[in-house]
């Protein structure tokens, strides 16, 4: 039998025998960023559609957690940096070709916006809230006057943020598993689905909950379609990408991916939501937690598996 044996004398820490440079920080941030993007997208969307009062959970209540999500995500990103004191170098330049650069700038814009949005709706949770300082009251008035503009900016930025979490990976042709442009839409859809799930949790009306359950089912279906599509693409591609797909089709990531992400994180919550729509009593929190879990696992598995996938030469 013809054999090829490659022996390398290199043993650099975190590089060999396989790449392990990105740990839990990156997938956690990608999850939180995607989730934040999902929530803000729906919040902005329903303001633009003029259904602000009908979709109170989406517009006013759920966005209250977004600043926390983004701040935790940013802390995770910062912890991941290995030359931490130089992090400000990110904001000395804009590099169009580097997804990480425009991701950093998007975060720079969307984080304060999320704080502003949460502040505008603080009275949903604390009805007697008073900003005390006149300047703050003035700012609040200004923000409310320009709410529609803010909503548009938020929808655009949240789509960029959501899709960027996937593009960050797909820009690396060195890692065949990541090197597919469909990862952007997949992570965006997953983020939107997670956002819809959180909104279900925050919403107080039956109608809104039902509506978001429908949206979530649709998004999960799109996600499943994209996943199938992604593997079809890999299997029809070059050897390295076939190898990458095989990690999930019989290889080491088969069980975690199909069980945790697809079955527990997508199919099961979608079924529960369908049952809920059929008026069968199911705890609201159950499908929500499952969707969030699936969304988190998707990022962890893709992040770790991608670092294992490589070119052999």
């Amino acid at each position: 039998m013809r054999e090829e044996i490659i022996t390398s004398g290199r043993m650099n820490p975190h590089i060999d025998p396989y790449l392990e440079i990105w740990h839990w920080h990156i997938p956690l941030y990608l999850f939180l960023g995607g989730l934040a993007a999902g929530i803000l997208f729906f919040a902005g969307l329903y303001v633009i559609l003029g259904k602000e009062n009908k979709y109170c959970g989406a517009v006013k209540r759920a966005p209250i957690i977004v600043p926390f999500l983004l701040v935790i995500g940013l802390v995770a990103l910062f912890l991941d940096l290995k030359h931490k004191l130089y992090f400000w170098q990110l904001y000395t330049t804009i590099k169009i070709q580097s997804p990480m650069s425009w991701g950093a700038w998007t975060l720079m814009a969307i984080t304060p916006l999320s704080f502003a949005w949460a502040a505008m709706h603080i009275r949903e949770f604390f009805p007697k809230w008073d900003w005390k300082l006149p300047i703050l009251k003035e700012i609040e008035r200004f923000l409310h006057q320009n709410k529609l503009v803010l909503a548009w900016i938020m929808v655009i930025l949240s789509v960029i943020l959501g899709i960027y979490t996937g593009i960050l990976f797909s820009a690396f042709n060195a890692r065949p598993l990541w090197n597919t442009s469909i990862l952007g839409p997949l992570f965006l859809t997953s983020g939107l689905s997670a956002g819809a799930a959180i909104i279900i949790l925050f919403s107080r009306t039956h109608k809104e909950r039902n509506n978001f359950a429908k949206i979530d089912i649709l998004l999960i279906s799109i996600e499943l379609f994209i996943i199938v599509h992604m593997f079809m693409g890999f299997l029809a591609s070059t050897e390295v990408q076939i190898d990458a797909a095989n990690m999930f089709l019989g290889g080491p990531y088969t069980a975690p991916f199909w069980i945790f992400v697809v079955i527990i994180g997508m199919i099961l919550p979608a079924l529960l939501e369908v049952l809920e729509l059929r008026k069968i009593k199911i705890p609201v929190v159950l499908p929500v937690v499952l969707v969030l879990f699936g969304s988190l696992m998707l990022r962890f598995i893709i992040a770790y598996a991608g670092q294992m996938s490589r070119w052999l030469y």
């Binding site: 039998m1 013809r2 054999e3 090829e4 044996i5 490659i6 022996t7 390398s8 004398g9 290199r10 043993m11 650099n12 820490p13 975190h14 590089i15 060999d16 790449l19 440079i21 990105w22 991941d80 940096l81 290995k82 030359h83 931490k84 130089y86 992090f87 170098q89 990110l90 000395t92 330049t93 590099k95 070709q97 580097s98 997804p99 990480m100 650069s101 950093a104 820009a171 690396f172 042709n173 060195a174 890692r175 070059t238 670092q307 490589r310 070119w311 030469y313």
Partner: protein
């Protein structure tokens, strides 16, 4: 000016002198290396062929690491040498992930480190440390734009290949086969 290196796989014996010379010259932290030896054994026993390569950063013309660096720390120096500016590097690891050759590593001090073609030596008119010490003289270094440079001459005479050309990186380290 386009610096390049040609390495003769027929002459290389895999002694790893280049690896040690680089570690000493560049003060590479213990346990790390900027260049390394790869042995590829191919065939059906007993008809086996062996190829020995001294590998390092390929100083690609279309470097994914330079493209994905968010701060511009990874950049091209004169002659197409790909290097990292320490005080601009935030240690995000994007360049490490982007390199199909895995030629970079995270220095214990936090920044990303890699082969520089011994830029400090080239500026003095010397050869990179690995080339200078090679006991079999299997490495050639020079300017591709100069038809009389060692590397241009040997690439004219011999068959050569680059590593993973299909990755589209346009490497500047050539392997004579």
């Amino acid at each position: 000016m386009r610096y390049a290196m040609a390495i003769d796989t027929k002459k290389c014996v895999g002694c790893a002198d280049c690896v040690v010379a680089c570690q000493t010259e560049n003060d590479v932290p213990i346990g790390y290396c900027r260049d390394w030896i790869v042995e590829v054994t191919d065939g059906t026993y007993p008809q086996l062929e062996i190829e020995i390569r001294s590998e390092r950063c390929n100083h690609c013309e279309n470097s994914p690491c330079v493209r994905c660096c968010p701060t511009g720390a990874s950049h091209y120096e004169d002659g197409g040498i790909v290097t990292v500016t320490k005080h601009k590097c935030i240690g995000c690891g994007a360049c490490i992930v982007s390199c199909p050759y895995d030629a970079r590593y995270s220095h214990p001090e936090g920044y990303v480190d890699k082969c520089t073609f011994c830029m400090h030596r080239i500026k003095k008119g010397q050869q990179p440390a690995c080339v200078a010490v090679c006991p079999t003289k299997c490495m050639y270094f020079g300017d591709l734009d100069d038809p009389n440079s060692e590397v241009s001459k040997v690439l004219k005479q011999r068959k050569f290949k680059t590593l993973i050309p299909e990755a589209g990186t346009k490497p500047h380290v050539y392997y004579l086969i």
